[in-house]
C-alpha cells in the first residue's frame, strides 16, 4: 500500500486560525480516530487492548495519556490516538476481540479537530450550538455529538475554558468560518 501519511494536509490550511480576533480558535494536528461499535460485553477487552476504559456513563470521555475514548452512543465510542497509530490499534483490537462481533472503522481522515479556548469559548460555540454549555450542565470531560449551526460536530469539554470539536472534513471550512465570524461578533 502506498504511504499516504506524507501527503496528508489539513483541509483548513490557509484559512487562518483566527483572523486577528481574540485568538480563541486553533486547528488541531492530525490524529488517529476510530469508531468502535459493539456490545457492552466487549468493552473489557477494548479497555485492555486500547489502554483506555471506555466510559459507560452517557456523554463522557475517558482519557489515558494521549489516548481517549469518547462515548457517542450506548454502543458507540470514538477512540482517539496519536497520528499513525490506527493500523496498530486495529490489529490489537482485532486480536483481543477475535470471536466477538463488533465494528471498528478508521475515520482518521473523515474529520478534522478544532479547539476553542478562553473565557469566550462558551459564547462562541453557543452562536451555533443550542446546548447549555454552563459548567454545571456541561462539565469537564463531557462529550457529545451535537449541532453547530448546519453541521454535525462532536463537542468535548477538555478543560474549564477549552472545547475540542470534531467536524466532518467537508464541513470543516464552513465550521471554521462560522466560528471565526462568531468570534468577531463577540
Amino acid at each position: 500500500m502506498p504511504d499516504l501519511s506524507q501527503a496528508r494536509r489539513s483541509v483548513l490550511e490557509g484559512l487562518g486560525s483566527s483572523d486577528g480576533a481574540h485568538g480563541a480558535l486553533s486547528l488541531l494536528p492530525p490524529i488517529s480516530r476510530l469508531i468502535f461499535r459493539g456490545r457492552i460485553s466487549t468493552i473489557g477487552r477494548v479497555a485492555a487492548a486500547f489502554g483506555v476504559e471506555p466510559a459507560m456513563e452517557p456523554c463522557r470521555a475517558a482519557v489515558s495519556g494521549e489516548r481517549a475514548a469518547l462515548w457517542l452512543g450506548p454502543d458507540e465510542w470514538l477512540l482517539l490516538a496519536r497520528e499513525g497509530e490506527a493500523p496498530a490499534i486495529i490489529g490489537r483490537l482485532a486480536d483481543a476481540l477475535a470471536p466477538l462481533s463488533y465494528s471498528l472503522v478508521d475515520v482518521s481522515h473523515r474529520q478534522v479537530g478544532l479547539k476553542v479556548t478562553g473565557e469566550d469559548a462558551q459564547a462562541i460555540l453557543n452562536a451555533g450550538c443550542p446546548l447549555d454549555l454552563d459548567r454545571h450542565a456541561f462539565p469537564i470531560g463531557m462529550c457529545t455529538r451535537t449541532l453547530l449551526q448546519k453541521t454535525e460536530i462532536v463537542l468535548w469539554r477538555v478543560a474549564e475554558a477549552a472545547f475540542q470539536l470534531e467536524v466532518a472534513r467537508s464541513f470543516a471550512p464552513y465550521a471554521l468560518r462560522f466560528l471565526q465570524q462568531a468570534e468577531r461578533d463577540l
Partner: protein
C-alpha cells in the same frame, strides 16, 4: 426551544431529533400469509389521534438511537420518553380540555 428528554443523553434541544412515525407497530411475523387488506393496514393504517400519541423519535445528531415518546398532538408537549422495547407508560390525559 423545545427540549426532548432522550432516554440516553437527557434533555436536549429538539433540533437534534427526527420524528420517525407512530410507535408500537409490529411487523407481521408471516407477511406472505396475510391478505392484501391486512398488509395494507400494517403499511398505511395509522391512528392519527388527537391527544396523546405514542411515536418513535431518533436522536439523530446525538447518540443516534431510536426511542419512543408520548406526545400530545394538540399542544406538542412530551409526556414521557422511553427506550425501544419498553412498555408504553401510563400517562393521565387531561380530560375535557381538547373538545373541538
Amino acid at each position: 426551544m423545545l427540549l426532548i428528554d432522550c432516554p440516553f443523553c437527557g434533555k436536549r434541544p429538539e433540533l437534534e431529533f427526527r420524528y420517525a412515525g407512530e410507535a408500537h407497530i409490529a411487523r407481521p411475523a408471516d407477511p406472505s400469509g396475510l391478505g392484501d387488506e391486512a398488509w395494507g393496514r400494517f403499511l398505511y393504517g395509522r391512528g392519527n389521534p388527537r391527544g396523546m400519541h405514542a411515536e418513535r423519535w431518533r436522536h439523530l445528531n446525538g447518540c443516534g438511537r431510536f426511542f419512543n415518546a408520548l406526545r400530545d398532538t394538540t399542544d406538542d408537549r412530551f409526556a414521557a420518553t422511553y427506550k425501544i422495547g419498553e412498555e408504553r407508560p401510563m400517562v393521565a390525559e387531561p380530560q375535557g380540555a381538547r373538545k373541538a
